[in-house]
Symmetry: C2
Subunit: 186 residues, 2 copies
């Protein structure tokens, strides 16, 4: 059961608010009746409008072919509450287990794509393939975010930022310097 029961649409130009800080994310996918989840830390915002996100999905992942063939995925934002699930998802293969069942995660229907949301996450970004020019060479996918939802509170949840070696940095505390920004930079 999710701690985040009250979610609302996120304006698409605000997607960077959640992804630019660089959190580890859970990427969910579906293809031919199967579904899967993987952890992913190699991603970047690429444009505001349309909102584009680039990411590396290694061909070693069970999710790779499901995502490439369906041309869709959902990027879900877990918080520190889900640390053990994030580690579990990242250390198992969808070829062997249904990770939703195994880690007690809830597959919820998305609005615009067939891939499911991971209900326990703080936010969800539904993605459709925008450009696969670098998939062959680098496993680099460029996604357009076509729908986004996030929990109404907390405004800045504690997120996990992976450093390798089994260690995550935690972000949550914030610093505002809004008063030092030029209006056109906000």
């Amino acid at each position: 059961m999710s701690e985040f029961t009250d979610k609302a649409p996120v304006p698409l130009e605000k997607v960077r608010r959640y992804l630019e800080p660089g959190p580890i994310v859970l990427v969910s996918s579906a293809w031919e009746g199967r579904r899967n989840i993987m952890t992913m830390g190699w991603h970047t915002v690429m444009a505001f409008s349309p909102p584009l996100v680039g990411c590396i999905i290694s061909a070693d992942n069970h999710s790779f072919e499901m995502i490439r063939r369906s041309g869709e995925c959902v990027i879900n934002l877990p918080t520190t509450t889900l640390t053990d699930q994030v580690v579990g998802v990242g250390n198992s293969s969808g070829a062997e287990v249904d990770k939703f069942a195994r880690f007690g995660l809830t597959a919820e229907p998305a609005e615009q794509v067939s891939a499911p949301l991971v209900g326990e996450c703080h936010a969800h970004f539904e993605c459709r393939m925008f450009d696969d020019a670098l998939v062959e060479r680098y496993n680099f996918f460029i996604w357009e975010v076509v729908a986004a939802r996030a929990a109404v509170s907390p405004e800045y949840p504690e997120t996990l930022h992976y450093t390798g070696d089994g260690v995550f940095m935690v972000a949550g505390k914030i610093i505002s310097r809004r008063d030092q920004f030029l209006p056109e930079m906000l």
Copy 2:
């Protein structure tokens, strides 16, 4: 004067340790006797070996042409100590001021590239252009990190993670789940 006086080489396969968490970074460049610094939050690790980093550098930035023409840059990792300098660098243009002088930052010589390091930063990643296939369409540069140095301590400094709207999340606290990882995932 930098608080980080004792720095050591970072093995190139460990670059992800610093950049995968998604910090805001300072990108320094040099071209035809000029030098500049910009802030950058849209970046991702793309490969371990060779260590590749992809990033968006908007053509609106004064640094864009300097970086494109030189085919080099340095990605510097600032900590929360440099918050005001990060904001200042991001809200001014190298077309108008020498940002090193303006913000009291020290240009130090790099080992492998002509672009200077920003001495006050915690870590430095010297980059050479690896692939410019997506520069025209997305302003997306793919860099090979050819040299890396980082402060010996602290091991996990407080870093800034930009959310937009003048607000940064701060990461620094860590969580280790190393004992739950498969050996091949470490």
